[in-house]
Symmetry: C2
Subunit: 153 residues, 2 copies
């Protein structure tokens, strides 16, 4: 799937994103064309999804993160999906196994604002029930490099 050089390339661009292909090739002691073709391949195979800037919602003023579990009316998934899609504070949502039908990651400016967002969520009559937990501290910061290293070879 990916080899050690791929891993090092991903690590390097994660740690020093503005580095450029040429400088990367110098630091890795490989030819520039190699880095270029490896990068191209990583993008082509979907391993690297994008080089989009990572935006910090906290820096934008949305300091509260919460997870919401929604029970929805049977067969209403599509409608609920549209509803969720219209709420910017919903950063992602998945259907899940087990009790509850959906899990959503939501953000808000503060706890009062979170109430507004939750009210917005339950404003859809297809949402039968909602339970919410607030994320307090990041025990493990969002990361992917350790996984990349285990995927090597």
């Amino acid at each position: 799937m990916i080899d050690p050089l791929d891993v090092r390339i991903i690590e390097l661009f994660t740690e020093q994103p503005r580095i450029g292909v040429l400088e990367a090739s110098r630091q890795l002691n490989v030819a520039r064309g190699t880095v270029q073709s490896r990068l191209d391949k990583l993008v082509a195979t979907g391993v690297i999804r994008s080089f989009a800037p990572a935006v910090d919602h906290a820096a934008l003023g949305f300091r509260v993160t919460a997870f919401a579990f929604l029970d929805i009316r049977q067969g209403a998934r599509g409608a609920v999906a549209e509803h969720l899609d219209r709420i910017p504070e919903v950063l992602e949502a998945h259907t899940i196994t087990g009790q509850g039908d959906l899990i959503c990651r939501i953000v808000a400016r503060d706890n009062d604002d979170l109430q507004r967002v939750i009210d917005d969520l339950v404003g859809d009559t297809n949402v039968v029930r909602i339970s919410t937990v607030i994320a307090l501290a990041d025990v493990v910061e969002p990361r992917i490099l350790p996984l990349v290293r285990t995927a090597e070879q």
Copy 2:
């Protein structure tokens, strides 16, 4: 906080990350120095956390995503954090309010592999109980732009 031009810059670099400052300035009809200073400021204020490549764990062979809720022994948060940190399949973890002490996002190659990861999680004696839900479908793909737009001005 951020103004419409900042939003357009973030949008542009999200949609066409390899675009470069010069081409961005052309598309936005502003001077190159403006884009450059705006970008610098967005990075300096932390709104843009990084330009790291976004790695797709599914493309690496980790096709199953799950959320695990851990009950842990009182006062053992630090120990558990270290434990979680050593498991590459734990992509993030937060302490949360309400029942349960931690929520983790974990990935695995398949359902069997998920069992292995869960076994690894419960291998810590400080983990009293764990319940897991598997993410089936992405109802709302991870996103941030809608939120960025609402943060404008």
